[in-house]
C-alpha cells in the first residue's frame, strides 16, 4: 500500500509527511506536481506549504497542476486523499472539498499547538479515533478560516477553542464519501512526545488503515 506525497513548487512539509508515514510502517513516496501517473499508488497526501507561491489565492494555481488529474481519479475511485494545511486549501479550490479558506479572523498567523475534538469517525482521517476524543496537533496557518456558504461540508475535527473564526470551528472537513479530507493543523508534526504531542499518529494511522482494500 503506497501513498503518493505530492510536491508542488513551494510545498514545504513533504519530507515531514514522508517521515511520519514511514515511522508508522507505511510506504510514502514524493511525486512531482507534473507527474501524470499515480497508478502505482493507493492514496495521496497533499502536504502543507505555499504551492505556486499561493499567488492569486491559496491553492488557486495548484489545482491546475498536471498531477491533479490523477488526484481527481483517486478521489473518484474512493481512495484516501488527504490535504494538510495548504493541501486542504488546494482540495477546496479544486472542488474536491466544499467551501474555501480565507484569512484568519484576527489576521494573525497562528503557530501553536491546538486542541481539536473528533466530530466524525467515518472518514479516512479519523476511522481509528472515537467521537469526542480530544487530540493536540500544531496549527500553522494564516488562511485557516474555513467558510462554506452551502453548509454541505462534513466537519471531521473541531477546534476546542476558536482560534481563527472557522465556520462550525472546523479544523478538518470531509467530502460526502469521507475519502477526501482536508485538515488545517499538521498531524505529521505531532508524531513524537518530544515534539510536544504524538497525537498526530492517530490521524495518520487512520489514513494508512484506509489504504487497505475495502
Amino acid at each position: 500500500m503506497r501513498t503518493a506525497v505530492v510536491q508542488f513548487p513551494g510545498t514545504n512539509c513533504e519530507h515531514d509527511v514522508v517521515e511520519a508515514v514511514t515511522a508508522l510502517g507505511g510506504s510514502a513516496e514524493l511525486v512531482w506536481h507534473r507527474d501524470t501517473d499515480l497508478s502505482d499508488f493507493d492514496g495521496a497526501i497533499l502536504p502543507g506549504g505555499f504551492a505556486h507561491g499561493d499567488y492569486l489565492r491559496t491553492g488557486a494555481i495548484a489545482r491546475f497542476s498536471p498531477v491533479m488529474t490523477e488526484v481527481f481519479r483517486l478521489a473518484d475511485s474512493g481512495a484516501p486523499v488527504l490535504g494538510i494545511c495548504n493541501g486542504f486549501q488546494i482540495l477546496c479550490e479544486a472542488g474536491l472539498l466544499p467551501g474555501a479558506l480565507i484569512a484568519n479572523r484576527d489576521l494573525a498567523f497562528i503557530c501553536r499547538l491546538v486542541e481539536v475534538e473528533v466530530a466524525d469517525t467515518d472518514t479516512v482521517l479519523t476511522r481509528t479515533a472515537t467521537v469526542g476524543q480530544r487530540i493536540r496537533i500544531p496549527l500553522n496557518s494564516y488562511e485557516g478560516n474555513w467558510v462554506d456558504p452551502t453548509r454541505r461540508g462534513r466537519v471531521v475535527l473541531r477546534y476546542v477553542d476558536d482560534p481563527n473564526g472557522s465556520q462550525q470551528q472546523a479544523a478538518a472537513v470531509a467530502n460526502d464519501r469521507g475519502n477526501v479530507v482536508g485538515v488545517m493543523p499538521h498531524p505529521e508534526r505531532a508524531i513524537h512526545d518530544f515534539l510536544g504531542s504524538s497525537d498526530g499518529n492517530l490521524l495518520l494511522e487512520g489514513f494508512l488503515h484506509s489504504l487497505a482494500p475495502a
Binding site: L56, A60, A103, D106, L107, G165
Partner: protein, 80 residues
C-alpha cells in the same frame, strides 16, 4: 485591449481584512465608517480588437481561475 476585472467577495462572506481596516480607521477618529470591504482589481492586456470576444474570454478566465465561485463575484469591463 485593456480589460479591467473587479473581483468582490460576496456580502455574506466575512472579510477579516476589511474588518481590521475599519477598526484602524475608527482608532484614527473615523468612527462613522460602518463597513470596509477589500476587493481585488486585475488588469489584462489582451491582443486583438474584437471587443465582445475579448469580453467573453475574460469572463471565461474569471470562471476558470481568477475568481473563486464559492466566495466571490466578478465584473469585466473592456476599457479599449
Amino acid at each position: 485591449m485593456r480589460v479591467r476585472i473587479e473581483i468582490t467577495r460576496r456580502p455574506e462572506i466575512a472579510d477579516p481584512q476589511g474588518t481590521t481596516i475599519r477598526r484602524a480607521l475608527a482608532d484614527l477618529g473615523h468612527e462613522q465608517v460602518e463597513r470596509v470591504r477589500v476587493d481585488r482589481v486585475i488588469h489584462l492586456d489582451i491582443a486583438g480588437d474584437d471587443r465582445s470576444a475579448i469580453e467573453s474570454q475574460a469572463n471565461e478566465m474569471c470562471r476558470q481561475v481568477l475568481a473563486n465561485p464559492v466566495l466571490e463575484d466578478f465584473s469585466v469591463e473592456v476599457l479599449g
